[in-house]
C-alpha cells in the first residue's frame, strides 16, 4: 500500500517492510497477469470453437480483449502507482467481465448465463465511468445512476429471463446470428404479450437514458473543472461518449431493424468501444499523473524561504490549480480546527462543491485542505501536499496552535484583570462605607463631646464611652477587611491554619483536613485559599448543605477538594462567574479545576496546582518560567555585557525555558549567569552575536534564519537550522525565541536538489553558481560525457566546458543563460562544448535555476550528448527556444 503521509522513508524498519510488500505485491501482479492471459486465451479459443457465424474471429478477438485489456491496463496502472484504487477496480472488471464469453456457447444454459452476464457488464461500465479517477462515487447523482442501473437490470431485465424463449438478437457478443440457443431459464412456454410490448422496450429506454446520463455527468464534470482534473477526464469522456451513444443506438436500432448491416456495425462499435474506453482510463490516469508531476515541480521551485500561512495557502492554490483552496490547522490543546491566525474555524461538509482532505502524520491530524472537488481530486491533494508541503504545514500548525493558546491566555488574563478591578472596587466600597465613616463620625463626635465637657461632664463621659465602642467597631471592620484582602494567618502560617480560621467563621459545619502541607509561593497559597473560600461561600449560599469538608494534600501537585453534602446542581456550560474566576486564578499559576456535581449528589470542587518547580527563585523568575516552559519553542532572555568603553562584548543568560535547555543540552543551572560566548564556540565572530547586538537597539521584533553547515565525506550539509525571533526588552536585555528547523532546512535543500536532479539521473547534470560561473556540482554522467574523472569538474569554471574559450566568456554566457531562464522559466539550448581531450561536443541542455542554500543562485543544466545529430549542423549560434 502507498503511504499517503510522510512516514519515515529512511528508517530501516519501514524500508524493509515496504520492500517486502513490494516483492509480495509484484508476485501477486504476476499471478494476476498470468490468470488474466489464460482467461483471455480461453475466451478466444472458446469463441472459435463454439461460434457458428462467419465473423467469429472478430467476436473471438472482442472477447479476448474484453478480458485482457482491463486486466493489463489495471496491472500496468498499479505498477506505476501501487494502491491506486481505480487500477484495482480495472483488474477486477477484467475478471468480472470474463463470463460474458459464455454467450458464444452452443449449450443453452451456458449461453443464457453469458447473455445475462452481459447486462451486469453494462452496469459495471456505468460504475467505472462515474468512479474515474478516484475509484469512488462522490456525488448523489453518480450513486443514483449506478443504483438506477442495478434497479433496471433487477426489475426490467432479469424477470424477463423466466418468460421469454429467446434473448434479444442479434448480440455482438454471441455471434450466433439466427441460430442462437433458446433461453434455458424460461418457465412455461409462452411469453406474455406485455413483456414484449412494455417490459423489454421500457428496459431498453431506461438503459439508454442511464448511458446518456453517465455521459452527461462526465461532460459536466469537465466543464466545471480546470487544470489538473480536466486533463485526466478528457480521454475518458471521449471514449465514454462513443460507447454510451453507440450502446444506446444499438439497443434502439435492434428494436426496429434488427438484421440490417447498420445495426450490426453499431453493435460492434458499442462492443469494441469497451476496451477502448478502458484504454481511455489508462490514458486519463497518466495524463493526470503528468499534471500532478507538473504541479509538484511548480511547488518545489517556490518552496524556498520563510513561509507564512497566507503564502503557503497561495502556493498550494497555485500548485493544485484551485484558487479556492483553504487550509485549516489542527490545534491540540483546544482540540479543534483553527486558521492561520489561530482563530477557530468550522470545516465545511464534504459535498459536490467543497471537499475536505485531512492530512495526518503519525496518526495525528495536521491540517485539512478545503478544495473544490471538481478542480482537483482528494488523491491529487494528498499526492502534492503530502510530498512537499507536509513539513511546512506541520510548522504552520504549530504556529497556529501557539496563536490560539496565546489568544486564550489573553482572554483569561483580561478576565483576571477584570476580577481584580472588581475586587478593588469592593474593597474601596467597604472602606468607604465602613471604617472611614466610623472614623469621620468619631472625629465629629469627639468635637461635640469637647463642647459638652465643661457643661455636663457626666454626659460627656457617657458620650466618650460610646465613641470608644465606635472605635472598636472601626477596628473590627478594618481587621476583617485586611483579612479579606490577604488573611494575615495565610501570610504567617500558611494554607492549613488560614483555612481552619475561615472554616470557624463559616455558617456551615466545616472541617479542614490538611496533612503534610508545606509553604508555597504567595501566589499559589493565595489562589488556593481564595478558591477554597469561594467554593465554601458557594456551599453556604446555594447548596443547602449542612457539612463541608475541605481536604488539602501535596502529592507531586498541591491538591484541594471542597465537598459538601448539599443538593448539588446540573452544571451548565459557563456556570457562574465564580467558577470562571476560580479557573482563571488557578490557570494563572498553571493549575486546573474540576467540578463534580449533579442534582441530589452534593458538590465537589477539585483543584490541582503544580508546585514542584515552585520554590526555586524570586517571583518574577517563577512566573516567567511557568509561562515560558509551556512554550514548545525555545525561549531565553539575555542581558548585554559591556566593556569599560560601553561596547557590547557578550550576553549573559538570565532566563531559559525547558525547550531551550533541551535544545542546547544544558540544564538551567548550567546556563543561568553564564555568557553565550562562554558556552558557544565562535559566538563572538558569528552573525548571531551581531544580530543579538543589533537587536538591543531595534525598535520592533526581528527575525533570523540561522543555518550552520558541517563538512562530511559527502560534502557540505546543514548541521543545524534555526528560525530565530527576537525583541529588545529594554535595560540592555533581549528576549529570543527560536525553533529548530534543521529537518525543514535539510528537507528543503534536498527537495530542491532532487526535483532538479534526480528526475534526470540518466542525463548529464551540472550546477553552475551564478555569481562566478563556477561548477559546484556535476553528476557522473556529465563527467562521462565530457571525459573527466569523477569529482574532477568541481570548482571548474563553466567556461572550461565551452568551445569558444575566451576571457570572461563563461560568466557572460552564464548570465545570458540566466536571463533566458528568468524570462522563460526554463529553456532548451544547444551548447557547443569541449571535452577534456579537446574534442568538440554538441549538447542539448535543459536549463532552469533555483536558489541554492549554499551557493545562492544556481543554474541547473541537464545535458544530453547530441553530437551525432548536431555536429553536422552548420549553425553554431546557440538558439534559445521556449521549453515545452
Amino acid at each position: 500500500m502507498r503511504d499517503e503521509t510522510q512516514g519515515a522513508p529512511d528508517s530501516p524498519e519501514t524500508g524493509g517492510t515496504t520492500a517486502a510488500m513490494r516483492l509480495r505485491g509484484s508476485y501477486r501482479l504476476i499471478a494476476i497477469s498470468t490468470a488474466g492471459a489464460l482467461l483471455s486465451a480461453g475466451a478466444f479459443a472458446l469463441t472459435l470453437a463454439q461460434a457458428t457465424q462467419e465473423d467469429r474471429p472478430t467476436v473471438a478477438i472482442m472477447h479476448a480483449l474484453l478480458i485482457a485489456v482491463p486486466i493489463a491496463a489495471g496491472v500496468y496502472a498499479w505498477r506505476r502507482e501501487p494502491g491506486n484504487r481505480f487500477a484495482a477496480i480495472l483488474i477486477a472488471s477484467g475478471f468480472f467481465w470474463a463470463p460474458t464469453a459464455l454467450a458464444v456457447a452452443n449449450n443453452s444454459e451456458l449461453y443464457s448465463v453469458g447473455r445475462i452476464w452481459g447486462w451486469l457488464t453494462e452496469v459495471s461500465l456505468v460504475f467505472l465511468v462515474l468512479a474515474f479517477p478516484s475509484g469512488h462515487l462522490t456525488t448523489r447523482v453518480e450513486r443514483g445512476l449506478v443504483v438506477a442501473g442495478c434497479a433496471v437490470v433487477a426489475l426490467l431485465y432479469l424477470p424477463t429471463v423466466f418468460v421469454v424463449d429467446q434473448f434479444p438478437e442479434p448480440n455482438p457478443l454471441s455471434a450466433c446470428a439466427h441460430h442462437c440457443p433458446q433461453n434455458a431459464f424460461q418457465i412455461g412456454n409462452s411469453t406474455p404479450g406485455f413483456v414484449d410490448s412494455v417490459v423489454i422496450p421500457a428496459g431498453g429506454i431506461t438503459a439508454v437514458l442511464i448511458f446518456l446520463g453517465a455521459a452527461a455527468v462526465l461532460a459536466s464534470r469537465i466543464t466545471a473543472s480546470t487544470g489538473l482534473m480536466r486533463r485526466g477526464l478528457v480521454p475518458v469522456l471521449a471514449f465514454a461518449i462513443v460507447r454510451m451513444v453507440a450502446a444506446g443506438a444499438f439497443i434502439t436500432m435492434r428494436r426496429f431493424d434488427r438484421w440490417s448491416t447498420a445495426t450490426e456495425v453499431v453493435g460492434y462499435v458499442a462492443t469494441f468501444a469497451i476496451p477502448l474506453l478502458v484504454l481511455g482510463f489508462l490514458l486519463g490516469l497518466f495524463r493526470w499523473r503528468l499534471s500532478v508531476g507538473h504541479a509538484l515541480r511548480r511547488l518545489s521551485k517556490q518552496f524556498a524561504g520563510p513561509l507564512t500561512a497566507a503564502r503557503l495557502r497561495d502556493l498550494l492554490a497555485t500548485a493544485l490549480d484551485d484558487p479556492s483552496v483553504e487550509i485549516a490547522y489542527w490545534s491540540e490543546r483546544p482540540g479543534h480546527w483553527v486558521d492561520g491566525a489561530g482563530e477557530p474555524v468550522v470545516l465545511p461538509r464534504d459535498d459536490s462543491r467543497r471537499a475536505v482532505t485531512q492530512l495526518t502524520t503519525a496518526g495525528r491530524p495536521v491540517a485539512a485542505i478545503v478544495h473544490n472537488p471538481t478542480h482537483v481530486s482528494e488523491a491529487a491533494v494528498r499526492e502534492i501536499v503530502g510530498t512537499f508541503a507536509m513539513m511546512a504545514l506541520q510548522n504552520q500548525r504549530l504556529d497556529a496552535e501557539l496563536r490560539a493558546s496565546l489568544a486564550e491566555l489573553h482572554e483569561s488574563r483580561s478576565r483576571i484583570v477584570a476580577a481584580v478591578d472588581r475586587e478593588r472596587i469592593r474593597i474601596e466600597r467597604d472602606l468607604h462605607d465602613g471604617a472611614q465613616q466610623r472614623l469621620v463620625a468619631l472625629r465629629v463626635g469627639l468635637e461635640l463631646t469637647a463642647h459638652q465637657v465643661g457643661a455636663d461632664p457626666d454626659a460627656a463621659a457617657a458620650k466618650l464611652r460610646k465613641l470608644a465602642a465606635n472605635v472598636e467597631d472601626a477596628l473590627d471592620e478594618v481587621r476583617s477587611l485586611a483579612r479579606g484582602v490577604y488573611p494575615p494567618l495565610l501570610v504567617d502560617h500558611g494554607l492549613a491554619d488560614a483555612l481552619r480560621a475561615a472554616a470557624l467563621q463559616s455558617s456551615l459545619s466545616t472541617q479542614v483536613k490538611a496533612a503534610g502541607l508545606g509553604r508555597y509561593s504567595p501566589e499559589i497559597e493565595s489562589v488556593v485559599y481564595f478558591c477554597c473560600l469561594e467554593a465554601l461561600q458557594n456551599a453556604e449560599k446555594h447548596s443547602g448543605a449542612s457539612r463541608v469538608t475541605i481536604t488539602l494534600r501535596e502529592h507531586e501537585q498541591l491538591e484541594f477538594e471542597v465537598r459538601d453534602d448539599g443538593r448539588g446542581f446540573s452544571p451548565e456550560p459557563g456556570t457562574g462567574a465564580g467558577m470562571a474566576n476560580m479557573r482563571d486564578r488557578l490557570g494563572s499559576v498553571g493549575g486546573s479545576m474540576k467540578l463534580y456535581t449533579g442534582e441530589g449528589k452534593g458538590t465537589r470542587v477539585v483543584g490541582r496546582v503544580p508546585v514542584a518547580a515552585d520554590r526555586l527563585g524570586p517571583d518574577v523568575e517563577l512566573l516567567l518560567q511557568r509561562a515560558t516552559d509551556a512554550l514548545e519553542d525555545c525561549f531565553g532572555i539575555y542581558r548585554a555585557v559591556r566593556d569599560s568603553s560601553g561596547e557590547v562584548v557578550d550576553f549573559v543568560v538570565e532566563h531559559v525555558n525547558d525547550a531551550a535547555c533541551r535544545d542546547t543540552g544544558r540544564s538551567r543551572d548550567m546556563q543561568l549567569g553564564r555568557t553565550l560566548g562562554d558556552m558557544r564556540a565562535g559566538y563572538y565572530t558569528s552573525d548571531l552575536f551581531y544580530w543579538h547586538r543589533d537587536l538591543l537597539d531595534a525598535t520592533g521584533p526581528s527575525r533570523l534564519e540561522h543555518v550552520a553547515y558541517e563538512t562530511t565525506a559527502e560534502g557540505r550539509r546543514v548541521r543545524k537550522g534555526y528560525d530565530i525571533r527576537g525583541t529588545a526588552l529594554g535595560a540592555g536585555r533581549i528576549a529570543i525565541v527560536w525553533r529548530d528547523i534543521t529537518d525543514r532546512k535539510r528537507a528543503e535543500q534536498e527537495l530542491l536538489l532532487h526535483s532538479a536532479i534526480l528526475a534526470a539521473a540518466a542525463e548529464g547534470v551540472f550546477l553552475v553558481r551564478a555569481s562566478d560561473a563556477t561548477i559546484v556540482y556535476a553528476n557522473p554522467r556529465l563527467e562521462e560525457i565530457f571525459g573527466y574523472e569523477p569529482g574532477e569538474l568541481d570548482g571548474f569554471g563553466a567556461a572550461d566546458l565551452h568551445w569558444e574559450e575566451t576571457a570572461g566568456e563563461g560568466i557572460h554566457r552564464v548570465r545570458q543563460m540566466l536571463a533566458t531562464v528568468d524570462e522563460l522559466g526554463e529553456a532548451v539550448l544547444r551548447i557547443h562544448g569541449r571535452r577534456k581531450d579537446g574534442t568538440p561536443i554538441w549538447c542539448e541542455a535543459h536549463l532552469s535555476s533555483f536558489d541554492h542554500a549554499d551557493h545562492g543562485r544556481v543554474l541547473v543544466a541537464i545535458c544530453q550528448d547530441r553530437s551525432d545529430a548536431l555536429s553536422r549542423a552548420t549553425e553554431i549560434a546557440e538558439t534559445a527556444e521556449p521549453f515545452g
Binding site: H432, D433, Q437, V440, V444, E447, L448, Q452, K463, D473
Partner: protein, 138 residues
Amino acid sequence: MAGEATDRVQTLVVDDQEAFRDVMRDLVSVTPGFELAGEAASGEAALALVGELDPQLVLMDVRMPGIGGIEATRVLVAGHPDLPIVLVSVEDLNGLPGVIGQCGAAAFVRKQDLRPQRLRELWEEAQQQLSYSVSTRS
C-alpha cells in the same frame, strides 16, 4: 417661611450610614438655634420627606446608593429654590465629580469639618446669599 414658626432652624439630615446620622443628630441637638426636623437614609427618601417636613436646611451626603446626593439636590433645588442644601462628604472637593458645582447646592463641607460653629456659619452664609454657588472649588 414655615420654619419661622419656631425660632430654631429645622434641619433634615440625609445619609445612608447610620453611624453618621447618629453623630449628626448629636451635632444638631447641641448646636444652639438648630433642631432636627428628620432623617433620611437615601436621596429618594429625602425627596419625599422635604415635602412632608418642610425643613429650612438640608445636610445631604454626596455618595449614597440610588440617585445619590447630587441628583437629589438638583431635584430639590428645582422644586424648592429657597431651601439651602449643604452637600457633605468624607472626600474633599478634589475627590468629587465636577458636576457638584452645578447642582444648585448652597455649600459643600467635609464631614469631618462639621461642628456647631461651622453649622451656624453655613446657615448664615446661606441666608445672605441663597444662590450661593460652590464654584469656590480650588
